[in-house]
Symmetry: C2
Subunit: 207 residues, 2 copies
Amino acid sequence: MVNKKDDNQTEKAILEAADKVFTQKGFAAARMEDIANEAGINRALLHYYFRSKDKMFDLIFQQRVAIFFSGLGQIMQSEKRLLEKIQAIVEHEITILLAHPYLPIFVLQELNQNPQRMLAIAENAGAHPSLLLKKFSVEVRAEIKAGTIRETDPAQLFMSIMGMTIYPFVARPVVKIILEKDDAGFENVMRQRKKGITDFIIHALKP
Amino acid sequence: MVNKKDDNQTEKAILEAADKVFTQKGFAAARMEDIANEAGINRALLHYYFRSKDKMFDLIFQQRVAIFFSGLGQIMQSEKRLLEKIQAIVEHEITILLAHPYLPIFVLQELNQNPQRMLAIAENAGAHPSLLLKKFSVEVRAEIKAGTIRETDPAQLFMSIMGMTIYPFVARPVVKIILEKDDAGFENVMRQRKKGITDFIIHALKP
DNA sequence: GTCTATAGGGTGATAGAC
DNA sequence: GTCTATCACCCTATAGAC
């Protein structure tokens, strides 16, 4: 009520700063001072707002995971036909990843170091992650039966889609050097890739 | 000459321990004490052998990157026909990754945080990494011209191969939960995947 | 709410005995 | 070569003034 500054504004600045620092450096390498500097405030204030580094990290991490998985879940459960669904997944993921370059490496690194976190997140989401594949698998098998695509293991297909889409972002520094691109060039290649991947998969599935 | 222990043996134990700890936790989260415990020796001895944490890390990291890229380079430059080359790449990578589960996420994470390291490695390797794709691109274009495969961008194809092959290992904790597998089950799926990916690509490239 | 100062604990590195 | 002890620094977290 009688704050010197709108506290919401400070809190938002901190969250943005924490996001940036944690995402780029990971939990262990991130310093509270980095975050404070990035937010343009004092270290002590971070603790005033979020109590501890751990609590702050958990918050950010949950948010990031949500971005990483949220849209995907919706598309997977949607009523699109298989090939359109695949196209939607690819386009959605690449769009997200272009906007959040460090997102996948950050999430995957922390999950690898702390796999049980994945279970916690799964429970938070309300549904078991294995459901993600259930509907998709049924659809794949239906298309196979109908003869519109060739015999394919749904799980293997799903991994391929994700790998083709996400991996270049995870391996971004390597890709940039091998393809001799700067950031702008890299992003261009990824935009082209939206259509490229979809075509590739459609041909691979053709009976 | 008058050592209490064969120093080679201790050095080896330290390197193995350092490898394990750095690879699992990353540089920032790794503690010298973790490595000492893992090697069954004292912290001070680490410094006696390798002077500093940084030097030790650099050593391990170089080795790991070599494993990650070495065989790949040879296959890429070999005289196999395109489709056999692709098959060889997939099988080689998956074999390596089954033996070194944490390898890709470790290397890619550290490279993301320190992209200039990639340039240093490139120079060390003697050849510019962009050469990796040169021969491959020529071969792809030749096959297209010969009509044996359909119009395809070589760089995009290469990223797809790498993504399909490496990504599941990077996302291992996620994959395990979505597919409801334990470690043994995951590894089985990956072994099947060797053939699965190759088939997938062959069909995708069919004119 | 925001700052300065500082407590309290951990970590990399070195000195020195054996 | 290997150990124990210790230094010097860094980092999270809190106390207390404003």
